[in-house]
Symmetry: C2
Subunit: 146 residues, 2 copies
């Protein structure tokens, strides 16, 4: 796990320790982390702060040119909302910890020219597998499934 | 303008009064507004709280079944991020104030089975036209354009 995915994974772990959904993310611009974050559904009662969204939010406001030179790291394949945020800001590359436990809108991202690197990292997989087994209802709420 | 688009429009006007980007939204479940909100980029330094996202956030956490019986009202055509949120939660219908000043990811929404009703409301158009003319840089930042 490289430095940036480790930051995303640490965020995911922090989310779990807070009683939340263990998905973390970091927005990296030219080798510098602009923002990192984790899913806040439980902690803030949030319907929009998935890990990727929290990282974007914590990174603050930027001009389009910054996003277009950035890479988004996330422990889990990005859902449709987070994929849409990646497309809105024209982020050209996403490094994904794993897509075994959930596959988001990867086809759309690729179709729109976003480069995806999928690590299938054993720690990311183990974290989500344990969470989904322990809290299936919370997980289904987070991904908009009955 | 019906009751719910009026709520979205009032939110947009409130955003303008706060010095922000005048886009508003309301999430409506079986005729009841669950949440309403407006773009908070300027007010909160937010990269993710577009009008639609703010309405979803203010509506709070819900099970998938609630979203699937809801209609999202928004004064402006939803950008890719907000379109992604609509897809994540399976919101079946979006009523759009106008798409003259900006057209979001309507093709993707329709392709995924979301019903769109576009009003081309003169007040919504006038509000955005005046804002874009006055603050083109802020507007470009909000939609991820250089």
């Amino acid at each position: 796990m490289d430095h940036f995915m480790k930051a995303a994974y640490e965020e995911a772990r922090r989310g779990l320790e807070e009683g939340g959904i263990p998905i973390g993310s970091a927005l990296v611009h030219r080798g510098v982390i602009l923002g990192r974050g984790h899913n806040r559904r439980v902690q803030l009662g949030s319907a929009v702060l998935h890990g990727e969204m929290d990282a974007l939010e914590n990174a603050g406001r930027h001009e389009a040119s910054v996003y277009r030179e950035s890479v988004l790291y996330t422990t889990l394949s990005p859902c449709p909302m987070c994929s849409g945020a990646i497309l809105l800001y024209g982020i050209p590359k996403v490094v994904i910890g794993e897509n075994r436990t959930f596959q988001g809108d990867e086809a759309l991202l690729r179709q729109r020219g976003v480069e995806l690197e999928i690590l299938q990292d054993p720690q990311c997989i183990a974290l989500m597998e344990a969470f989904i087994a322990a809290s299936p209802e919370l997980w289904h709420e987070d991904i908009g499934q009955v």
